[in-house]
Symmetry: none
Subunit: 225 residues, 4 copies
DNA sequence: ACCGTCGGGACTTCCCGTTTAT
DNA sequence: ATAAACGGGAAGTCCCGACGGT
């Protein structure tokens, strides 16, 4: 068994978008280094707090205290509270995108890719603070509509195209619409994750998802004949 | 077929059930008609606001303004902001309980009861502010742990026993555990509802749930032979 | 004819100023009676609360609850919160005036009258809620300058004239100014009462006042020779 | 003769003694000069207002306005309204302690020390806002029992031991108990100060206290023979 | 460049004294 | 005399800049 298809990458968070614009700046390099680190710490601390208190119950002072800095320091790195949250969500997306790419690069058949994707996601929800926080922030709509990508849609579309591919290969049960199935898969997944969180802090998420995925896929894939 | 199995009751909210005793003079029950009405209006207004701005972005002043009253008036009927929210959630529960009872009194076979229950719930999510608000309040954990019933568990246990009954009648597919199935059903339902809300304000919830329920039940019930 | 009972020692509080306007109203008489009683109850309850929580920490609702009535009922008898307090203070004054009159009617020598007056006052502070409350209200200046008599001055002037009389009779020590002595006597008395209250809820007020009065009078009265 | 025995010290208030550690970053003590100054200004303004309106009639906004700042600034330096008041009272105590120490270091005979102490206190009551405010706050019991020292007791005990010393030297009149005398002295003093305040804003406090102290001490000290 | 201190508003919850309809 | 509603503040919290050191 395995919903642990080792799609793991060491993923430094906090390396700012600047990493694209990263020019050669020999002099200030080491300081930049430290700053990036600090920034990452803030993000991590914020993620932890957001994950278990939610956005409104987490104050900047709170975050600052958690990293052992002052509010001023935090405000040096982030424009405002929402910016922190947004950054976490963005980080979440990039992580997922990475995972999606990795999975697709593994050359698995499409249905297996979907399975691997979701299983992996379940694992992340179990351990990764950024993921937990990001999901909660999304779910609670704490952030005013900034330029954040709409939640869920990327998951849905990715899975949808994978399922479409599978459908083309005749692997889907008669009458299953790929988009619909993807929608269901994704929303069930998030629903499950959320209920597990509320009810027992996700202690049984792996087991529950195992059961749920079996059940869902059973209806989706064509019977072996 | 329609998932509108006419489980409908006129449901007066705001009839100051329990919380009346909490207030000053519990004496003389049927007397102040207007008060009950006002109270209900407040609840309704709050529900609407909670449903689409969320708890933290809704201020008491906001609610008061919505009903065309002053904050003082609101505070006459409710102890504090959280009390309003709690009352909405409580109201939600009683409504659901009513629906559950009705469904079970209809004498349908257990599986049909489950289906009817969820279909009906989907309908309510589409139109009823109390339901929308209550679900959101629940999902966003805005209320500090008062003596509110844990969310979801009642749904799960109800459906679980119904499925167990069905299982006893051999109507469930081999290897399906009633409790697990109930858990999945409920969390998928809530997940779907939530995703639909976020993505397009639940415009397509009926359709989506129709598809999802077909898919889920297909895996749960025993194949017709 | 006169039921203007000269002997007003037994001191009904709350008999409203209306007692002057008291016409023959045979029918409503008993109700008037009850009203006066209610009023007195309110006053008593308020006094108790004022005495040990102070004016600002005592709410109208609090008072109403204490007498088992509603706020509205209280507002029937009193114009506003301050009116209640003012009435208590006024009541305090009339009581004291009564005591002063009584003492002077007893035909004691002036110095003994002073002594009796203060000793009696000390006793009242020990047991009478109106006195305790009135003094506290006075001391804490909770009441905006309504038409209340200035505190202390009546005491001071009364004692001052008594001492002047004693001075005329050569009973005062050389160089003692009656007004100054009165001032000192009164303020010492109130200071003592207050300190006793703060320190141990006046448990030792009698003893302390006994000691203090000996000490004070020793300096005031002429040495026996 | 002067009851202004020059026990005067320049007394900086607001040097964020203890309460600094309560705040966020206790690090770097002597750094922000301006902050300490602001803090002191707030305290001074608050003292002035407390002294003549009393605690409940003084709002934080009021205080802030008085110093020409915003509430936010005030709340940076103090936890809440009560904290401000408490700080004033604490400041009062330290000032008094300083005075007591000074007086005792002057090497006067004990009775003279007592006299000097009280005379000096009378002066302070006449001019120093912190003293006025502190005394009023104490007297009106505005502060819920925090860890403030009990009022009056320190005065009483100090004077008590001084009198005991005098008693040992045979300077006290026969039958005078030092503790009792101290109690009376202190409460008379506070009573006088209070009555003077109420009656004419302490305009005649010096004169009154002069008279009172003569009268009191005359009964306490042994007759010259 | 990075971080800390201090201060600024704005807003919200909640309470309380008070009338109006009944 | 009661239940209901009113309106006005009060306290307190939070997010956030404008500096000043290092």
């Amino acid at each position: 068994l395995s919903h642990t298809e080792r799609i793991t990458t060491v993923n430094k968070i906090g390396t700012p978008r600047a990493s694209a614009t990263r020019r050669a700046q020999p002099r200030s390099a080491p300081q930049q280094e430290r700053a990036a680190q600090t920034r990452a710490q803030v993000l991590a601390a914020a993620a932890e707090l957001f994950a278990d208190r939610g956005y409104p119950h987490t104050s900047i002072a709170h975050i600052a205290e958690q990293v052992g800095m002052t509010k001023g320091a935090v405000y040096f790195h982030f424009r405002d509270k929402e910016d922190i949250a947004a950054e976490i969500v963005r980080e979440l997306y990039t992580r997922w995108r990475v995972r999606i790419d990795e999975a697709q690069d593994m050359g698995l058949p499409p249905l297996e890719t979907v399975r691997a994707l979701l299983n992996n996601a379940a694992d992340r929800f179990f351990e990764d603070d950024i993921v937990k926080a990001g999901a909660r922030l999304q779910a609670e709509r704490s952030l005013s509509d900034t330029t954040l990508p709409e939640p869920y849609v990327e998951w849905i579309s990715t899975i949808s195209t994978l399922l479409a591919k599978a459908s083309g290969a005749g692997q889907l049960r008669e009458g299953i619409d790929p988009e619909s199935a993807a929608y269901i898969l994704v929303s069930s997944f998030f629903g499950l994750q959320h209920v597990c969180d509320v009810l027992n802090r996700r202690a049984d998420l792996p087991r529950r998802w195992d059961e749920a995925s079996h059940l869902l896929f059973a209806s989706i894939i064509a019977s072996p004949e």
